[in-house]
């Protein structure tokens, strides 16, 4: 079953920074839209062609593919407000509450 929210997180290797970004994003998703999201984590060291296809320059990068519009943010994702703003998910959050 496809989820309402589809997020792709690009990281480089299994570094503390990567782990932190994954944890941060997962936490935000769980808090805001539990059970409604799918999070795909891509390690560009293992999938360089995907980095090329998606024109990824920096990690961590999050691409929100669903719901439209597509949004990209970079950073360690520790600031929840900025992450939601950047991904254009602020409205979604309010509608839920």
């Amino acid at each position: 079953m496809s989820k309402k929210y589809l997020l792709k997180l690009f990281v480089t290797g299994q570094t503390p920074r990567s782990t932190l970004a994954i944890e941060n994003l997962r936490r935000i998703c769980e808090e805001e839209f539990p059970n409604e999201y799918e999070l795909i984590v891509i390690d560009i060291l293992k999938r360089p062609q995907l980095a090329e296809d998606e024109k990824i320059l920096a990690t961590p990068t999050v691409i929100k593919e669903l719901p439209p519009p597509i949004r990209r943010i970079i950073g360690d994702l520790s600031d929840k407000e900025k992450v939601l703003l950047g991904l254009d998910l602020v409205g979604q959050e309010r509608r839920q509450k």
Binding site: I44, L45, A51, L57, P60, I70, R72, G75, G86
Partner: protein, 493 residues
Amino acid sequence: MKGKIKTSSARKGGLGKIPTGIAGFDEVLDGGVPKGRFMLVTGTTGAGKTVFLNEFLYRGITQLNENGVYVTFEENPKDIISNVRSFGWKYLSLIKKKKLAFVDAAPAEEMVLETGLQYDLSPLVKRIEYAIERVNAKRVVVDSIDALFSRFSNKDVVRAALYQISAKLKKSGVTALISAEKTEKEELSRYGVEEFVADGVIELGLAKGQQQFIRRIFVKKLRGMGYRSGIMEFEIEEDGLKVFPKIPVQRLLAKTDFQIRKTFGIEKLDELLDGGIPQGHVVMISGNTGIGKTILAMQFIIQGIKEGENAVFMAFEEPIDQVKKTALEHGWNFEQYEKQGKLAFIGTSLIDISNDKLLYKILTGVKRIGAKRVVIDSISTLMSATMNEEQTRQFLIQLCSIFKEQGITCLMNYLCGPSFGATRGQLLSNLATNEIRLSSIIDGIIMLLYVERGQSVKKMMNILKLRGSAHSKEIYRYEIEKGGIKVGGKYEE
């Protein structure tokens, strides 16, 4: 080992070089750019940085068997591919053959927002590495450093990435060029990283000429490598860049051979010249308009071709087609000789032409067909069009020294003399001061002059000077007939 790539071996314990493949530029760099190094290409907007990068890549792939990677932060690959097509460079087929790969880092359609400053550019580094592996690249170009910096607010992250990229490239033995914008007032280091990253700096610029902009190129720094200093000119032509390197003045260590004489095939004239012009001489033919300087020079060429010596004709006075027509009227088929590769014409716009550019054109023409005789028609056009006296002098010194070194015999036409006939006893006063001043450089002067006597104007000639020869000192009559110049008897008042 691949035998195709010719790199000059390390000089004096220095580094190896690889040719850029850009016409004329490798001479400036004394062989090419340092192999496996990182060079910065800087210049103002429109100076030609992107074309330079593209040509470095394209020549490498197509002529030197060095595959390439293009990292773009500005234009997207589609636009680049379409832009270079105007030079006849077909990137799509190179991509298909896995000789060229793009790292498309041009701005994506959607904005990228920074939610903090904690990020790094390791994907960029990885993608470059990946592209190099994919096509087994030996050359990389990055356009441009400014576009990369403008994309991220954390400049330290960009600097760190540049260091990483530079280190990776060096490790894999790839030679790279990275472009950087230069504004008028700015000094080189804008981001505080360029000097550390780059082993050399090539600067491109635009200068205002009399009627058009002149493109300039200048090697600012090249760690541990020899190169020609000074500002060179270049042009962007239909098939890429042409750099006109300064040609060092050689010692007048000549291959002049007084025993070998170059004849005109004009019986009497060759006799007056003590058998012809010595090989390696530069001789000026001076005289007024319509007196036959061009015809005489053409006969010199025809005679050369008859004797198996190829020739270059520099046509500044009139269009090449017109030169050919004139020749044909005398029965000389220049068109045919040109097709057979025995004769080459060089006609060029003289607007804002420089010594270096002209010399370069002459020398490449001479080299192409292995010419032994050269005609410049005329030096006076050069002087009146653009060069001042000093430039002309410099130009002639360089030209003469090169020709002498290569044993090439050269005639240059020079327009001078009174507009009408000389009066009794004034024959020699026709010489303009310029001619006298230049005469220390040139080896000989054949003077053609009009003499007005009674109701008619006669043509006379005199060998005013010919180094190392027991030439005639007399004044002779001559006529221009169909088939060329016929020298008659001595002129007597």
